[in-house]
């Protein structure tokens, strides 16, 4: 791998992933062009890029989802490639097609592969063709408009068995997903799931899948080139989730034997090869209590959690994506990483720092960032999308940063996680940090006892918050103003977020004053 695969790249995304891709561009000596909505005109990804193009108002449907506007921006700026990141247009085959039709390289799998695997039902059929077990469920989409449809769905549901999940055929990230315990909940779940799926993906097709429980969520990172070579670069355990959205990911998956790991990687490679995978994708599986793997879906894009695989494999996956998109064969480094993947020699964990309230079922908590002090030191990487003073808009995903830690084994990575999470200081918005701090001190988690039920069964956020609340009240009483310093005269300064060392009662965030906070 030598030289820049492209001269100029347009990044069709925002937030931490756009920044991550800007960095890869600059590492490879390429120019990075950002796009932004009105909510992001001075966002960090815009500041970091070499050029930026406005693509519309704040709502995603009028900006980051505007395929036509983004392709026009790529043409106008002379971009040689478009990187879609994750979310937004990343898995829209029509977007990839439009980019390619404009004579620009799309950094991701080809449109046919995206279409085939993006349809979760088609992906299930591909898996069955190549002998990869799938979660029991329906193989065709359900319509939910008329009475006859409901009768058909009822029949299907009986065959699948309860509890089951209604899932969006075009879906991902838990959107459109509904859990159904009894038949009488089915109709409502189909309707609301389909409506949410239609709103999120423009396609309300849903299907049914048996719920595998207890289970771990384990996924395999794949890379493929245009010669038809597909390799696995290790797996990630992403079992710590809430509402089917990941909170913590680690690599390797704890407790797998070398042969289990090898078989899992091989199954994922078969799937990728059968779907004609080029570039990067991830095959997701459920790992049951009986140590059997069931295929879930393939994500034909860069994952949020790709960084843990980078730390363990030593690869820069985004850089690999650019080289692959330029038509180069899989690099020597990628092949070497694949050959080591079944016997990993270090451990990495990622914590998603989101603007959410973990005491209120992870409700969104947008607002303006006050203090923003990142951990650092050996084995610590932070991929952030905000800085002090930045607004976290309610219009987009609440993920604001990813803390990644790396150690020679899981115990070392966990110890480092405790240290790094304690260093992490965010003011102004509630984040998922208290959840992570409790998790890395939990005996079961430390023992590698993972399950997608962990959050529901082990996490009592309200109790954890209450304990800290009492301490906060008492501390506030001690940190009281000086004599003769009436509250009315409190000076408004910006020093607080920068650690000025001045009296904290006088230092203050002017910008914070006009904001309203979620309760």
């Amino acid at each position: 791998m030598t030289g820049a695969p492209f001269q100029r790249v347009l990044i069709a995304n925002r937030g931490e992933i756009a920044l991550r891709i800007v960095r890869a561009c600059h590492d490879l000596g390429m120019e990075a062009i950002a796009v932004y909505s009105d909510a992001d005109s001075s966002a960090p990804h815009v500041r970091a890029a070499d050029r930026a193009v406005r693509i519309g108002p704040a709502p995603a449907a009028e900006s980051y989802l505007r395929s036509d506007v983004i392709v026009a921006a790529a043409i106008a700026t002379g971009a040689g490639a478009v990187h879609p990141g994750y979310g937004f247009l990343a898995e829209r085959a029509t977007f990839a097609e439009a980019v390619i039709r404009a004579g620009i390289a799309f950094v991701g799998p080809g449109p046919e592969t995206i279409a085939r695997l993006g349809d979760k039902l088609a992906a299930r059929r591909v898996a069955i063709e190549v002998g990869v077990p799938v979660v029991p469920g329906t193989l065709a989409g359900l319509s939910v408009t008329g009475e006859a449809d409901l009768a058909a769905a009822t029949e299907e549901a009986e065959g699948v068995g309860f509890p089951l999940l209604v899932k969006a055929a075009a879906g991902g990230g838990g959107r459109g997903m509904r859990r159904v315990e009894r038949m009488d909940e089915l109709a409502a779940a189909l309707r609301s799931g389909s409506s949410e799926a239609a709103a999120a993906f423009g396609d309300g097709t849903v299907y049914l899948e048996r719920e595998v429980r207890p289970a771990r969520h384990i996924e395999v990172q794949l890379l493929g080139d245009r010669n038809g070579t597909v390799v696995a670069i290790g797996e990630r355990d992403c079992s710590i989730q809430r509402r089917h959205q990941k909170l913590v990911e680690e690599s390797p998956a704890p407790g797998l034997s070398a042969s289990e790991r090898h078989d899992l990687h091989a199954a994922a490679v078969r799937l990728g090869a059968a779907a004609g995978l080029t570039n990067a994708a991830t095959a997701e599986f459920l790992f049951g209590a009986d140590r059997r793997f069931f295929f879930l879906e393939v994500n034909t894009r860069l994952q949020v959690e790709h960084g843990v695989t980078e730390l363990v494999s030593g690869l820069d996956i985004v850089a690999e994506q650019f080289h692959l998109a330029a038509g180069e064969p899989l690099s020597e480094q990628a092949r070497a990483a694949a050959s080591r993947a079944a016997e990993p020699s270090s451990h990495a964990i990622e914590f998603r720092i989101s603007a959410e309230d973990p005491a209120r079922d992870f409700a969104p908590a947008p607002g303006r960032i006050g203090r923003w002090a990142m951990p650092s030191g050996p084995g610590v990487r932070v991929d952030a999308g905000v800085e002090a003073g930045d607004m976290v808009p309610a219009d987009y995903d609440p993920l604001i940063a990813k803390l990644l830690v790396h150690g020679h084994d899981r115990a070392a990575a966990l110890a480092r996680s405790r240290r790094a999470l304690d260093e992490f200081e965010v003011g102004g918005v509630q984040t998922t940090i208290p959840f992570h701090r409790a998790l890395v001190r939990h005996r079961g988690f430390m023992a590698g006892d993972l399950s997608t039920d962990w959050v529901a069964s082990e996490w009592d956020g309200a109790a954890d918050r209450t304990r800290s609340g009492r301490i906060a009240l008492i501390a506030a009483a001690f940190e009281a103003p000086r004599d003769g310093e009436a509250p009315e005269r409190t000076a408004v300064e910006d020093g607080a977020t920068r650690g000025s060392g001045r009296d904290g009662w006088r230092a203050s965030g002017r910008r914070n004053m006009s904001d309203r906070w979620p309760r």
């Binding site: 969104p364 309610a394 800290s468 009240l473 009662w505 914070n512």
Partner: protein
Amino acid sequence: MSSSWLPDGRTDAVRVRFARDATASGLTVEANAPDGLAIVDGASLRVGYRRLDGIHGLIEIDGSPARVLFGALRGRSNDGVLVREVDVNGWRFEVEVESAARAALRDRARRDDDGLVAGGTREIRAVIPGRLVRVVVAPGDAVIIGQPLVVLEAMKMQNEVRATGDGVIERVLVSVGENVEVGDLLVILS
């Protein structure tokens, strides 16, 4: 360290409570009682507090240490209450601090106010900011506790706002497409 802003410099108890949380009664704290003790709601606690840089502090309450992070301070000049962001273990709180004597006066005033409000109605307010994507009920509808009233979309998730009790919809104050903020009135139930 004195904990008072009273004009004569006299040490006095302070009242601390969570901001915008009408249900929390808060604590009365006399920070510098003799012998390294603090009086918290009348009970003696051994509390050590060390201010580090005006942003960070170390507190030890009956032997348990914790790090405290202080954020922006906002004064509310009309009623003399300080509001301060306090972070413990990653949890973010907004704490109101005022002299205990003043807090007692305010509490009394608030109780008197409440007495003037006619009972029987219930206000449903937004607890997250978002865009209203659906209104499920109309004035005159009878609803039962837990029944969805409106759907708010925030950060791509649809959140149902439900009735907090049985009743009849008196008014719907929002319409589809509208952006609402935390605390905005959505529906009135009677």
